[in-house]
Symmetry: C2
Subunit: 510 residues, 2 copies
C-alpha cells in the first residue's frame, strides 16, 4: 500500500507542479506582463490546465485511487492518508466528468475576457465585454451540465469553492442574515454620518505600502515565504507553501485602501503559510474552502485591523507614518472614519455592515443568470435596479456596477461570491471561539501582540489545510455548525457605540 | 499533408507552452521569488521540462515527423514547412537520446545550484558550491555520453547553443583571434590609461534605469511586447513573441554599468521581437544560435552604444540626465572612459579588446573539465593561474574568479561561453555588411536614428528566427562565411585613435 501511496503522491505532485506554474503565469499576467503577452499567455494557461486535468483524470489515477480506497478501510478518519484519499476522490469525481478540452477552453476564455475587462472597466464599456460574458455564462451552464442530481444549476459551481453547500441552503442562510442586516443598516444610516475626511490625504504610494508591510510583519506574515506586489484587483496566490504572495493596490488619495487590502490578503496568506509543511505538493496543502479562507482575510482585516484595541496600540505608529493626515486627528475620529457605515457603490470598499448586501446581490444575480431568469444583455440594468432596491442609491455607470468585480471576468459565473459572506459569518464565529479559549486575546492585540490569536487559528484551522471539510473545520474549531449569531453580536457590539444606536432600534441579539 | 502539419504544429505548440512557462518560472526565480520558494521551484521546473521532453520524444511525434519528411520532398528549402521539419528533426534527434528523467534531474539540479550560488558568490565560498558543481560536471559528461561520433566530449553540448560548430574548429578560430588580440592588448596597455573617473559618480538607481530605457526605446525596443526588471546577472528571456523581457542590474557608483547592460540585453530582445509573428509557437520562433544572438547584443551595446557617432548625438542627453557626473566633462573624455581598455577581473565589465581573452579562458577550462584534464576541486586554482597568464593580473578571490559567472551555476558545463566571442566576431561582420549596403548608417546613428540599421538586421537576420542554420545566416547576410577580419578591422579603427597606437605596434589588417 505504501508504494501505491507514493505513486499516487507522485502523480498528484505533477498535477500540483502544473497548477502552481499556472498560478505563477496568472500572477504575472496581473502584475508585470506587457499587453503583447496576453494572447500567448491565455493559450499557455489553457495548456497547463488541460495537462493537469488529463493527469488527474487518467485511468491510472483512477485505478490507483480505487485500489487504495479498498485497502484503506483500517486507516483512522483523521489520518493524512485517509484525508488524501477523500480529497483526491472528490477532485477526481469533479474533474472526470468534465472533458479536458472544456477545461482548456474555459481557461483560455477566462484569460481572454480578463484582458478585455482590464480595458473595458476603466472605459465603462459593458458592451465590449458582453459577447465574451455571454460565452462565460454558456460555459458556466455547460460545466454544471456535466453533473447530475443537483437541485440548482449553481450547485456544481458552488461545490468548487464551498464544498458541501447548496444554493438553496445559502439562499436560506442569506435570507436570515438579510432580515437582521437591513434594519441595522437603516438604523445606522439614520444617524449622523461619521466624518472620514481625515482619510482623504494624498500619501505617496511607497509610504503607504511600507506601513502596510510593517503591520503584516507584526501579524506574522513570513516574508521569506512571500512578498507583496501591485495589481488591479488585490488577491493572494500561492506557488508552494514556501511562496505565498499577496497583491494589493494603492489609491494615493485614500491611504487606508491599500492598508486594509494588504491586511485582507495577509489573512489569506497566514492561512496558507500556516499549513503543515509536510503536506506540501499534495491537494491537502490548500485552504479548505472559499468561506473558510475568507473568514481569515476578514478576521485580520476587520476583527483585528479595524478594531479599537488594535488601533489603541498602533495609532501612534500610523500618526507618525502619515503626519500630514493624522497628526491632529484623535484616535476616536480615525476609528470612526475607518468604520464609517454608508450606502456605497463598490463592494471591496464597503463597510462591514453593508458589505453583505453587496454580496447577496451578486449571489442572486448569479442564480438568476444560471437559472435562465436573466440574460447577460440585461445584467447591467438588473444590477442597477437591484442595487437601488438593496443598497438604496443609484448606480451612475457600469464601471461602478456590473463591471466592478474581476470574478465574472476571470472565471465561471456561479460560486464566486457566496464565500465572502460565509467568511464574514465565520470570522466572527472563529474569533468568538478563540476568545472563549483565550480571554486575554483582546488585551494582547491592545499590546500589539498577535501570537495567541494566530496560534489558535493555526492549530484549529490553518495547519490542516483541506484535510477536513469546511463543515468539519467549523464544528471542530468552534464546537458547533456555522451560525450567524456571533457575527450579528459582533456587529452590534461594535456599531452600537459607534453610532449611538438605541437598544430597540433593531432586534439586537438576546 | 496539411492536416499532419497541423497536428505536428499542435504538438510543438504544447511543447512551446511548457517551455515558455518554464522560462517564466526561471524569470521569477531570478527577480521576485522569495527564498522560501526555491525548493518547490526547482521541482516545478523539472516537471515542466520533463513533460516538454516527453512530448517532443513521444512515438507519435516521431511518426508524424517521418511521414512528413517522406512527403515533403518537393517543398522548397526556403519554405517555412521545410525549415520546420529540419529544425524539429534536429531537436527531436537531440532530445530522443536523452532520457526524460535525466532532463528533469539536470533541470532540478540547475535550479538548486543556482540558489546556492546566489549566496556563495557574495560570500566568496567556492567550497559551498564545489560538490554541486562536481555533480554538474558529471551530468554534463553524462549528457554527451548519450551521443556518439563526436571528436570532443564538448561537441554535443556546443551543438545545443551553436549548432554545427565543433570544439576543434572553435579552438582553431580562437587561436587565430588570440594571436591578433594579444599584441593589441599589449600595445594599448603600454599607452597611458584612459581616465574614467567621470563614471564613478553615485546616481540613484531610478535615474540610471530611466536613461537606459529611453535609449532602448529609440533603438526600437517595443515596450508593449516587453519590460525590464532587476536581477543578479542580466539576461533576456521570452515567453512569446509578444513578451520578450530584459533584465539588468544597477551599480549606484558606476552609472554606465546598468546602461550598457540594458543596451546589451536590448540587442538580444530586438532579435526576438523582430522574428516574424506568424512563426509564433513553433521552434522556428527563436534566435538561430548563441553566437548569432550575441552578435546582436554586442552590436547594440558596443558597435552602436559605445561608438563616437552615437554619443555625438546622445551626449547632451546623458549630460542632462546625470549632470553631477558629466556637466563639465567633454564628450571626448566620456567616450575614452566608456572605451577604456584595461586588464580587469570581471568578464561582463571587460572592455571590447580584452573581453575575448576572458571568454577563451572559460572555453578552455570547460574543455579541460569535460575532457578530464582538470577536476572541479582544482578549478578555482586553475582559474587563477590561467588568469594571471592570459590577462596578466592576479585574482584576489573566487568571487572575482571561478564564481563570477552564472553559467556553470545554472546549466551544464560546456557550450556556455564560446557564443560570446563568436558574437563579437559576427557583430562586426554583420555591421560591416550593413554599412556596405547602406553607407549612410553611421550618419543616421549620428542623428539618433537607428531605423536603417535595425531594418537591415531584421530583414537579413531577425525575421527568420531559426529557419536557417547559423552558418547559412552568416553566408546569406554577409555573402561569406564567418571571418575575424571585420572584427579586427573594427577594433583597430576604433582603438588606434583612442590610444594613439603606432601603425607598426601590431600587425594591423591589410
Amino acid at each position: 500500500m505504501d508504494q501505491r501511496f507514493d505513486e499516487l503522491k507522485r502523480r498528484l505532485l505533477e498535477i500540483n507542479d502544473l497548477t502552481s506554474a499556472a498560478a505563477l503565469l496568472r500572477w504575472d499576467q496581473t502584475t508585470y506582463m506587457p499587453a503583447g503577452g496576453a494572447p500567448a499567455r491565455a493559450r499557455q494557461l489553457a495548456t497547463l490546465e488541460r495537462l493537469a486535468h488529463e493527469q488527474l483524470t487518467a485511468a491510472e489515477t483512477a485505478r490507483l485511487l480505487e485500489r487504495l480506497e479498498r485497502e484503506s478501510g483500517s486507516l483512522p478518519y483523521d489520518s493524512d492518508e485517509a484525508a488524501l484519499l477523500r480529497v483526491t476522490r472528490r477532485l477526481y469525481d469533479q474533474a472526470v466528468r468534465v472533458p479536458a478540452r472544456f477545461v482548456a477552453e474555459l481557461s483560455e476564455h477566462a484569460a481572454a475576457i480578463y484582458q478585455v475587462w482590464t480595458e473595458a472597466r476603466p472605459a465603462n464599456d459593458f458592451k465590449r465585454v458582453r459577447p465574451l460574458l455571454e460565452r462565460t455564462l454558456d460555459l458556466s451552464r455547460q460545466y454544471s451540465g456535466y453533473f447530475s442530481g443537483w437541485q440548482s444549476i449553481a450547485d456544481p459551481l458552488i461545490d468548487l469553492s464551498d464544498y458541501g453547500l447548496k444554493a438553496a441552503e445559502i439562499r436560506e442562510l442569506f435570507g436570515r442574515l438579510r432580515q437582521r442586516l437591513v434594519p441595522l443598516v437603516r438604523a445606522i444610516t439614520e444617524r449622523p454620518p461619521a466624518d472620514d475626511s481625515c482619510l482623504s490625504h494624498a500619501i505617496p504610494a511607497e509610504r503607504q505600502l511600507a506601513f502596510g508591510l510593517e503591520v503584516i510583519r507584526r501579524f506574522g506574515y513570513d516574508f521569506d515565504r512571500g512578498r507583496q506586489d501591485l495589481t488591479h484587483h488585490p488577491f493572494m496566490t500561492k506557488f508552494s507553501l514556501g511562496d505565498v504572495r499577496i497583491l494589493t493596490r494603492v489609491r494615493e488619495n485614500d491611504f487606508t485602501d491599500s492598508l486594509f487590502s494588504t491586511l485582507h490578503e495577509c489573512g489569506h496568506a497566514l492561512y496558507e503559510q500556516g499549513i503543515r509543511m509536510d503536506l506540501e505538493g499534495t491537494p491537502l496543502a490548500a485552504g479548505a474552502s472559499s468561506g473558510v479562507h475568507e473568514s481569515q482575510s476578514r478576521l485580520w482585516e476587520n476583527l483585528v485591523g479595524r478594531s479599537l484595541p488594535f488601533w489603541r496600540h498602533s495609532y501612534p505608529a500610523i500618526q507618525a507614518a502619515f503626519p500630514e493626515a493624522l497628526k491632529r486627528v484623535p484616535l476616536e475620529t480615525f476609528y470612526a472614519a475607518i468604520n464609517k457605515v454608508e450606502r456605497s457603490l463598490i463592494r471591496t470598499d464597503a463597510d462591514e455592515v453593508t458589505y453583505n448586501l453587496h454580496v447577496m446581490l451578486r449571489f442572486d444575480l448569479e442564480l438568476d443568470l444560471l437559472e435562465g431568469r436573466l440574460a447577460i444583455a440585461d445584467l447591467a440594468e438588473a444590477w442597477r435596479a437591484r442595487f437601488q432596491k438593496d443598497i438604496g442609491i443609484p448606480v451612475p455607470d457600469d464601471r461602478n456596477g456590473a463591471l466592478q468585480d474581476v470574478h465574472w471576468f476571470s472565471g465561471p459565473i456561479g460560486g464566486a461570491f457566496q464565500g465572502y459572506t460565509l467568511g464574514n459569518i465565520l470570522s466572527a464565529q472563529f474569533f468568538a471561539a478563540a476568545r472563549r479559549d483565550h480571554p486575554g486575546i483582546v488585551k494582547e492585540i491592545e499590546a500589539g501582540e498577535f501570537k495567541t490569536l494566530r496560534g489558535w487559528m493555526r492549530d484549529r484551522i490553518y495547519q490542516h489545510g483541506s484535510k477536513f471539510t469546511p463543515a468539519e473545520i467549523v464544528q471542530r474549531a468552534t464546537g458547533q455548525p456555522m451560525t450567524i449569531e456571533p457575527y450579528m453580536e459582533y456587529l452590534w457590539d461594535k456599531y452600537q457605540p459607534l453610532y449611538d444606536l438605541e437598544r430597540d432600534a433593531v432586534t439586537a441579539p438576546a
